[in-house]
Amino acid sequence: MIEMLTLAKKELTDLRRSRLLLVLFAFLAVAVILSVVVASADFRLKIADYRHYLDALKAAGSTAAAPAPQLFPLQMLRGGMEYLEIIGSLFAVVLGASMITKEKGRGTLALIFSRPLGRYAFAGGKILALSLIWATTMGALFLVIVATLLLVGNAPLQGGDYLALAIVAAHTTGYLIMWSLLAMTLATLALRTGTGLILALVLWLVVVLIIPQIGDTMDPDNQIPGGLFASLQVDKSHEQAVMAHFTGYETTRDLIEQTSVTKQYERATFAYLGIKNEYNQQSLSFIWAGTFNNTLWLLAGLATSLGAALLSGTKKTILRKAP
């Protein structure tokens, strides 16, 4: 246990000294801030359009009133969450792989394992360090997000919003730790330094981009600009009646999407942030009831990557030679 803590401390010191972590954090923070700025500008334009519309109605002598666009502050985080989903996980892959590649590059692995270490102490130290890094980084990033929503988005946040943000931060931390551990495992198992990183990148490409893209493309409503049902002039209630005849197709599409842990993360976080209309302004218990399976799948992914990282990070695996 002591050696694991020592190794974790050494990792944290290494990362504090390198600029990599600072660059990654700054990049993610800027991306998230920009997405809130854009969402805020977009909402202001909608309000301006709405006022023009009302003025036009008044000028035409009409007394009819249209509902004003409503601001749901957490919905402004959609772009930011998608950046964490795509770019955040990419950074997590690089960070996880670098935990092993730097030791291979410096030739320090043989030295570390010449010490009397417990079987899982090396991997445990790395895992602990990665977990602490991502928990701290996400804590800081979500503070930036709150400040951006309050200052840039002029969004009044309530107590429930802070709780929802904390839950989303916890999901994001788990998601990013999972990607770092997967990349670390592949870097450990690969005999050549760059191989693990590229294998992890291919896995990232398939899970984060390709599978969700296939699911998205198979959605009939995504085939026509503005939506298929809107183009057919079919309203929401009738849309469900039509889609009830395509349950087999929809189940297959859903299964394809569910094979991507990114989609599980997206579904859970979008529900807590109210981005999915059916969960907007609902209680946390209602959202949990609808999305607990997504959270559990995410946890299963995290547990799998944790187990893989722990089992692969042994002296026997790491110090083996190419045949």
């Binding site: 920009l34 977009d42 989903e85 795509i86 490409l205 893209q213 085939q223 395509f246």
Partner: protein, 300 residues
């Protein structure tokens, strides 16, 4: 064999022999082959939904997929080129220059009567040829898969349009090859050599379009054109700044015009010129690399 062609052929051989780009290549070619079948499944579901809505008396409009061109089935390939093709270009570019630095072959080659510009130019030409061959194979595969899906051999005009799309894809991928090579030449470690161009790619593909159009990053993965950008002050200013830099969106726009997407409007000239400008700038940056930079040691 001239020195130029010797370096080109060597580059081509090294790239085709490397297992890891082969993995990305397999994903790329596999998705190109699958794209027509994914499109076919989407079309069948839309037609089914339309017929059900018609049966229930919910709509009177015509089927939006009536008289659909076979080129519809190639639309997904545009997205796969933007995602997988560009990443593949980066990886082969990075590997090409990192290989020399890791094996210290640059020292040996530069001791001969070969200038850095000549050597790097011929390496770049080798990789450009590799990408061209890969895209030619993908185009044939795509045409074959669309023919299978539609149940008839694709017409000459449509095949020419698909060939045009892949020619454009070559122009789109070239700056990413150059970016990867430049990163491999300038980075201090192999990790940062791979990370830097991928970060630049993610900015170009996912962040710049959001600034100009408010389009959400994941919606950019859908081949259907996003709704037009708001024309207000903020977006008018940002889109004029970032649109020329959004290489992925330029490629998607010109690609949609080539594939005769009825929703695509405008001309191709601007997009093609932008991509060509990026390709020229990227190639120039690689070729102008100094001898001392090529011989620098890696720190990992």
């Amino acid at each position: 064999m001239t020195r130029w062609s010797a370096v080109m052929v060597h580059e081509l051989l090294c790239t085709t022999r490397e297992r890891l780009p082969q993995l990305l290549l397999a994903v790329f070619v596999g998705m190109i082959a699958a794209s027509a079948f994914i499109g076919s499944s989407a079309r069948a579901s839309v037609t089914g939904v339309y017929q059900e809505a018609l049966r229930q008396g919910l709509t009177t409009v015509s089927n939006p997929f009536d008289a659909l061109s076979p080129l519809y089935y190639a639309r997904n390939t545009v997205i796969y080129i933007v995602l997988i093709g560009a990443l593949l270009a980066i990886v082969v570019g990075v590997n090409s220059t990192l290989r020399d630095r890791q094996a210290r072959t640059a020292d040996l080659i530069l001791s001969r009567d070969v200038g850095p510009a000549f050597y790097l130019g011929s390496k770049l030409a080798g990789l450009a040829l590799f990408v061209l061959l890969l895209l030619a194979l993908s185009a044939l595969l795509n045409i074959g898969c669309i023919s299978v899906v539609t149940g008839q051999v694709l017409a000459g005009g449509d095949s020419a349009r698909i060939a045009g799309l892949y020619a454009l894809a070559w122009l789109f991928m070239l700056p990413f090859v150059a970016l990867g090579m430049a990163a491999g030449l300038h980075a201090a470690s192999s990790t940062s050599a791979l990370l830097t161009p991928i970060v630049i790619w993610s900015v170009v593909i996912f962040i710049l379009p959001l600034l100009g159009t408010a389009a959400h990053p994941v919606s950019l993965l859908n081949p259907v054109s996003p709704p037009p950008a708001p024309q207000g002050g903020f977006f008018a200013a940002t889109s004029s700044l970032v649109d020329p830099l959004s290489l992925g969106e330029q490629f998607k726009h010109v690609g949609a015009l080539i594939l005769a997407d009825p929703q695509a409007t405008g001309t191709m000239a601007g997009g093609i010129l932008t991509m060509a400008a990026f390709a020229v700038a990227g190639c120039a940056a690689v070729v102008m690399t100094r001898r001392t930079r090529m011989r620098r040691l890696l720190h990992d």
